[in-house]
Symmetry: C2
Subunit: 200 residues, 2 copies
DNA sequence: GCGTACCTATAAGGTAGATTAAGAAAAAGG
DNA sequence: CCTTTTTCTTAATCTACCTTATAGGTACGC
């Protein structure tokens, strides 16, 4: 039980951390205290443009997308997040300026969240988490760099194949409309790519 | 003087850190001890494909590009770095696997570098630097995310205009061939964009 | 100061991917 | 279960950007 008095399922988060570093009992207790569960229905938003991103979010169950709406009203997916992924607008989280992004649940989902001030406290009290989060951020940066290189050097078909190879579980879970938006092409063009690939 | 016995100009690095957090004399001394100067001539490589990126590099003077060579032999610029920027293949640096990237000096340059093991030692002995580097990485991630969104949502002309607005100093310093490669277009097409923009 | 390598501009023809529209299939929701 | 909404497909037309080629301009290295 955490301070809100409700049972929350923090085990997936503990398991996740322990893949990186073993945790002391005290640390587990602090995590249980600082993280809070939230249930989000399909199509509900975790963050909307103009809001400041005040929480760091870990997905326990379900699926999200983070996207930008451009000046023509088109949506562009920056990232998906499923079980055991983190999601949030890290820029807004740290600058405390309003976000330009939306985070929307693609399925009924369960997340656990930590407030910015609590995360800072965690970093001060337990430098171990500072290190873990630095590593997470580095990994995210490496992924982002790979994606930039792919965007400027590959065709849409190559990007789609690489996406499927890297995330085979997304194939039956995320609609092609959303995948197209992530790849930076129209759903119509993704459809022709898929036809081309199915042929031979 | 550092352990190599040579005078190195570490002041730009100290000034840079102090924009984030004031440093104690002891910390300055440690930085001076752990960072080493390197002079790099134009067209010389700081990193080549297949090498493990063993150093984190801070640019004191000069200009670099980090790029990928694709299977068709074409080069794609991932990043530039000028005075007071960091450069390195952060993926290879942490995984200690061979890099797929090159880092090349576009001008005669001076950098100061820290070895991975020394940086880790720095993080353990002075947690303050762990925090500073986490913030650096977060900032780099935010930039990378912005660039991904731009790549999937903007035309080459919009990306070029944004690049100039964001880095006006690069206009007269970095050749259009290199800028085109960064934007993900051919130099010929960048030339037609420039003509289009010069007209009205 | 000179030669040479590189950089920029311009133009013609070609391709990847966008746009629009319209119908079929599937899924959400009540 | 039926209705409504969303998703996927196909095809025609259109545009952004690539490829190849040619030529003049610029700056580096000696």
């Amino acid at each position: 039980m955490n301070s809100s008095g409700s049972d929350i399922n923090i085990k997936p988060l503990l398991d996740y951390f322990e893949k990186y570093l073993p945790l002391e009992e005290e640390e587990k207790g602090v995590l249980e205290e600082l993280f809070h569960e939230k249930r989000v229905r399909r199509r509900q938003y975790l963050l909307q443009e103009g809001d400041v991103c005040t929480h760091n979010t870990f997905v326990v169950e379900g699926c999200f997308r983070m996207f930008l709406v451009d000046e023509k009203g088109k949506e562009h997916n920056l990232q998906f997040a499923v079980e055991n992924w983190w999601i949030g607008d890290i820029g807004s989280f740290h600058s405390e300026e309003p976000s330009r992004l939306y985070i929307e649940a693609l399925e009924h989902s369960v997340v656990i969240q930590i407030k910015k001030e609590d995360q800072l406290r965690l970093f001060v009290d337990f430098p171990k988490f500072n290190r873990i989060f630095r590593v997470f951020t580095e990994n995210a940066l490496v992924s982002a760099q790979r994606r930039i290189l792919q965007n400027i050097s590959s065709t849409a078909e190559e990007r789609y194949l690489d996406f499927l190879k890297r995330h085979p579980d997304f194939f039956n879970r995320i609609s092609n409309v959303q995948i197209a938006s992530y790849l930076g092409v129209t759903p119509e063009f993704l459809s022709t790519i898929r036809k081309r690939l199915a042929k031979p």
